[in-house]
Symmetry: C2
Subunit: 213 residues, 2 copies
Amino acid sequence: MSEPAPDTLRPQRRNEIRQQNEALILQAAEKVFAEAGFGGATMQLIADVAGLPKANLHYYFATKEELYRKVVSNIFDIWLHAAESMDNAPGPVEGIGAYIDAKMEISRRHPDGSKVWASEVMHGAPVIQDYLETTLRDWTAGRVALIKGWIDAGQMAPVNPDHLLYMLWAATQHYADFGHQIETLNGGPLTDLQWREAKDSVKAMILRGIGAI
Amino acid sequence: MSEPAPDTLRPQRRNEIRQQNEALILQAAEKVFAEAGFGGATMQLIADVAGLPKANLHYYFATKEELYRKVVSNIFDIWLHAAESMDNAPGPVEGIGAYIDAKMEISRRHPDGSKVWASEVMHGAPVIQDYLETTLRDWTAGRVALIKGWIDAGQMAPVNPDHLLYMLWAATQHYADFGHQIETLNGGPLTDLQWREAKDSVKAMILRGIGAI
DNA sequence: TCTTTTCCTGACCGTATGGTCAGCTTGAAG
DNA sequence: CTTCAAGCTGACCATACGGTCAGGAAAAGA
């Protein structure tokens, strides 16, 4: 054989090296930014978490801001992807129900990302202001129209669509952003059963709250 | 007259000086901590906002941590005070309705405080963990019992009281913590009318969501 | 007035941080 | 094997930060 079988554990290909290290750094950065905030995070700590020398970070990401920007935009993409679950639904029960499910799942699986996003917005969105004004604004307008359609069709009560969206974001992201508070009150991390109950509670309260069930 | 009339504008009394400067510093600190996070905030910037030399800050507050701790505990007190609105209510409509009103008002009047609190919790509550485990835990247990009483009395649907509280916190604080996002989507700060609509929307959705109306 | 205490601050210090760079190693191409 | 570019890193640098301190100003008490 002229070409040895690809082995992910052996000395990597050039492409793989870059891809793997960037992913490693981004993962470590997300964690550190979530735990310490942008100002409190240090490149040295991110490097330690990633298991790489600090100078290597600067080889892949020129500045702390550039690394942070990449982390935030990655999160935004996950958010937006989850939002698709709301479309193509016959009504609010399915559409909003699926959206709550998706966002609760993100809060459970990517709490660090959620915290970085929250932190970014709380500090005035210095890095992703343009996303807010374009992508998010457009997305929101579309969903508002969708909700209005459901209202006009008599499938739910005439609630204010904007404030419904805010409530959906708030209720679901709270389980990530304030996870520490919840865990403290709960006496430990939520179990599988408790996560299920959280999801069901949020869905029940909101769907009943908008008169969809 | 042996004692000149007290004049707040003239050279102050000793007591007043301390009180006034501490308040000035705490106010500036809350703003800066909210905008930059603990790690991103600098004593120099807080001093500039307060209009005092940096060394003067260290005269009143020995360390950055001590100043931060004071800011956070002040916010916690406001929170707890607002919580009283929930008690002594004949039922969930009045009790939870008043609580939502109070918390929405705080989000509107003290958004910086809310952000500092959110940031503190998101970072694992390094400073107020003991408050979470004692005061907040006790308060929560009391409100859970109160809600259970309402449920047993048939005044509302049998929702999970813990998750109801989380939703109340999430929905109301969102207007402060994510105020920038809301303002961006809204094309500017919420007007008086829009704040009223926000309050009414949250109340309507939640009270209907728990079967109280 | 004199003394004491509190208040105030410019100048300074040690440290930690983001970032740089010269030079080494390693994979790929011919 | 040789060449070249990509990957890597220890050592270094300038800056900014939290915090200190000696000594002056101002209020309170005697």
